[in-house]
């Protein structure tokens, strides 16, 4: 839920990165964190297991600048991807303003993508949202790997509503900011619509 404070002249929005286990959600955040000037970001908080798998969520606040005198701050979250952390995923979707679905482009992860996308739709509904009405971007990650599904085929399988689609290699930053920009623009455009 967008939070607007007229006293401190701030607009705060929440964006959640969703997707199957090991698809690169945390890597997206890590790249944004590493590429952003210190004054524009807070700490990157990772609630992870000992093997660096996301246990509850990753979080980083990102300040993008001012719109009409209001500071715009995006709170970026990831969810844990593994199937058995579903309770955590539901909690993190509370109050969401925009969603990025990070798909793993490898052939052998296709079923995991579809299952996770279905899970996203279900969990959004549980929280009273509809994927059709929420700012949403699809990112096809790991495009540098040899065994990836062709762009057209993967897009047609995962597209839900004509959302923007970006090819990405999150580990070197390719497509990461394009994805963020697309979802942030949608969130701010929704705010404008009222």
């Amino acid at each position: 839920m967008t939070f607007i404070n007229y006293a401190s002249r701030e607009i705060n929005c929440k964006i959640v990165y969703y997707g199957p286990g090991l698809c690169g959600k945390t890597t997206n955040l890590q790249h944004i964190y590493d590429s952003t000037a210190p004054q524009a970001k807070g700490k990157l908080i990772s609630l992870a297991t000992e093997t660096d798998r996301t246990l509850f969520f990753d979080f980083m606040p990102l300040e993008l600048g001012t719109v009409r005198g209001f500071k715009t701050r995006f709170h970026l979250y990831t969810v844990p991807g593994q199937v058995y952390y579903d309770a955590s995923r539901k909690l993190i979707l509370k109050g969401v303003d925009g969603v990025v679905f990070v798909a793993d482009s490898q052939e052998e992860r296709m079923d995991a993508n579809i299952e996770s996308l279905h899970n996203l739709e279900e969990n959004l509904q549980t929280q009273g949202y509809d994927l059709a009405n929420i700012p949403y971007v699809l990112q096809l990650n790991k495009r540098d790997l040899p065994n990836v599904i062709p762009f057209e085929e993967l897009s047609s399988e995962l597209l839900k509503k004509g959302e923007p689609v970006f090819e990405a290699v999150a580990k070197d930053g390719t497509g990461v900011f394009d994805t963020l920009k697309a979802v942030a623009k949608q969130v701010l455009t929704e705010l404008r619509k009222g």
């Binding site: 607007i4 007229y6 993008l64 715009t72 909690l91 303003d97």
Partner: protein, 160 residues
């Protein structure tokens, strides 16, 4: 938009700040925070120093979200308060509707005092937050010109 935005007006923010300031003194706390249950920081008062208040708010909300789900698994609707006691610093979180009142205190105070004082402050905060929620929709509609004035160029300028 997924939900109606929460819009805090200047006078409401100042009232929240004064409730937090009073609570901080009354329970000899190190710091007091008001946080939205979705993790957005609303206001704080006290010895903040270089504490990362944004991360603190997000983690407090995550903490309460997790314990609330645990409560429901054992047949409770919600745990109205969550306490973390450390060797020197402790945290008391009171759940007030969709907000969290978080008190950080040390050996200068006691859990009993914090609980008693927070109860009264919770009532005051709840009244203000209810007003904020009620008025957010009306205020947004009456001020819609501000949001409507945001142009594509304004949005694009954030990314250049």
């Amino acid at each position: 938009m997924a939900e109606t935005p929460i819009i805090i007006q200047e006078h409401q923010f100042q009232r929240i700040k004064s409730v937090l300031a009073r609570l901080c003194v009354e329970c000899a706390a190190r710091a007091v925070f008001l946080v939205d249950r979705d993790g957005q920081p609303i206001a704080f008062h006290g010895e903040i120093g270089d504490m990362d208040t944004t991360s603190f708010s997000s983690l407090a909300a995550g903490n309460v979200a997790a314990t609330t789900s645990m409560a429901q698994l054992i047949g409770e609707e919600v745990f109205p308060a969550v306490v973390h006691e450390g060797e020197r610093e402790s945290i008391y979180i009171s759940v007030i509707g969709r907000s969290l009142l978080v008190v950080v205190f040390d050996e200068r105070s006691t859990l009993g005092l914090v609980k008693i004082r927070t109860k009264r402050a919770s009532h005051d905060v709840a009244m203000i937050i209810d007003e904020v929620a009620r008025e957010s929709e009306d205020y947004r509609l009456s001020q819609n010109s501000f949001f409507a004035e945001i142009t594509d160029d304004d949005i694009d300028s954030l990314f250049t």
